[in-house]
Assembly symmetry: C2
């Protein structure tokens, strides 16, 4: 079965339920729940040997770290603070105590790094290592920040340089709770998503969910050093890597134009950087990448490892 | 690595964290969290091809159903109402649309059956089907019901006949939210657990967590028809199957002696059955099974498929 079909199933399953406690169902970075009057976001993420890491080439600590941080990044992308994680693991019978200690340290230290706790889990034996992390969070501000609430004219920002994460960052990143907290506490972002499938894949999620188009300036996209290093090997350009590589786990968010200066001041005071890359446009404008050679229709390429 | 070592790791990881929002950490059926003043329980359970089901022999609907109900049973065992589930799946590339529709229907209908919603998930391709279900719940009563709060003299009850679940019930059970609701709403149970590893393995969890022993009357343990059918094949006795088979997903709970009659009245009114099988004793009494041939030390046998 192709990934396209998987996506169709996902969409099929995203049909909203007649459950008033589900404020936002599948289709955003997290679901948003109302439990006893408290707004809670929840996300679950599965990583497995071969697809997401090669345990022969990676420290187990980094695998545990990644499992937690992927979920933490989804929670940050909702403008929420991660609070608790549970982790279900399939562990190969040949895993050594040293390996498991590394794995567990990664899980626990990643959770602690974002101010959360690992509160439970499940273990099963199997041939391939996999970890499923489920994270809960609560809004830094009054409400979670969705994908669907950008408005035409909003400026588009990313929180850091993109591309080439396969060279190491995809296992060694920290969810951007710092900027999520700043944005949500100050009611600055009108929409937000994290870059897991690549900017070219993730920004259209905001556009479609909000019923908008956008214009992004290629020369304003911050390109990571790893994107350049990788480009030297692949023959692609660094900007192609910045656009299409996945697993940067930076945040992409939109800000009302009149708030852009306030964002600049507050982020500077906090010692945090954001990069303005374009603006949201009415849907009829389409999704456009402005390059030195002219405007191009936005192209989404799937991330492949 | 042996299961014993897995258990040691589990215990190692159960070291309580200095997080005041974690009211109960690993070691009970669910963790208990305080999020914004709301008490929430969370559990995660992983089932996989080979260990927990054989997809060649089982309807996909039943696999999805089981994934949700295992977590729902953990939530019921806390005296809580399941509210929301997320499910992460590893799906084999050869899974047909029909198979996936069955799987998804099982997930969604099981959640609906216990009054909850599936609010999100994650999908990955892999060689072996696995499903990790994470469930949230809230107390039917004021507080969740723990394993650690039984008292000497409390009567021990189970909610239904035990044994032989491998003949079908392990894929086709409904979490005992009915009795969990009755017990918790009426503040009847002093402790509770669900029978996932078998009565012989699970009742000692209550005893140890509560610092107690117990006396169970073998002839009061309700034996399922499947336990008898299975015994005819295995050469074991039906009571052995009722004691040691796992995955019955009935509840075992304790009730203060003076409340036993109230339980009888309320459960009868509700058309629900409970079976009194013994009583909790001080720790020095040990864990004892009374049989027609005399008292025996309680024996825990691991459930093996």
């Amino acid at each position: 079965m192709s990934w396209r079909e998987f996506d169709l199933i996902k969409e099929f399953c995203g049909i909203p339920l007649a459950d008033p406690s589900v404020l936002v169902g599948p289709g955003d970075d997290c679901a948003v729940l109302d439990i006893g009057g408290t707004k809670i976001v929840i996300t679950t993420d599965l990583i497995q040997e071969g697809t997401d890491f090669l345990s022969a080439e990676v420290l187990p600590y980094r695998i545990g770290w990644k499992a937690i941080m992927i979920s933490a990044s989804d929670i940050a992308a909702m403008g929420c603070r991660p609070t608790h994680f549970v982790v279900a693991s399939v562990l190969p019978a040949e895993a050594t105590s040293e390996f498991l200690n590394g794995l567990w340290s990664g899980l626990y230290e990643a959770a602690a790094r974002v101010g959360a706790s690992v509160v439970g889990g499940d273990l099963s034996k199997g041939s391939l290592l996999s970890l499923t992390s489920t994270g809960l969070g609560t809004p830094y501000g009054t409400n979670p920040i969705l994908r669907s609430t950008a408005r035409a004219g909003d400026r588009i920002f990313v929180t850091g340089p993109l591309g080439g994460s396969i060279l190491g960052k995809h296992l060694d990143f920290t969810a951007r709770t710092d900027l999520a907290s700043l944005l949500a506490s100050n009611d600055l972002a009108t929409s937000m998503i994290d870059v897991s499938d690549g900017l070219s894949g993730d920004l259209p999620h905001i556009a479609r969910a909000s019923g908008l188009g956008f214009l992004v300036h290629a020369d304003r996209i911050p390109v990571s050093d790893d994107a350049s290093r990788l480009a030297a090997r692949t023959g692609k350009t660094p900007i192609e890597h910045a656009l299409h590589d996945g697993e940067d786990f930076e945040l992409v968010f939109t800000v009302v134009e009149s708030q852009a200066e306030r964002l600049a001041v507050l982020s500077c005071e906090a010692g945090l950087e954001c990069f303005e890359i374009g603006e949201m446009k009415p849907a009829e404008h389409g999704m456009v990448l402005r390059t030195p050679l002219g405007d191009r229709q936005w192209e989404t390429r799937s991330y492949e490892h």
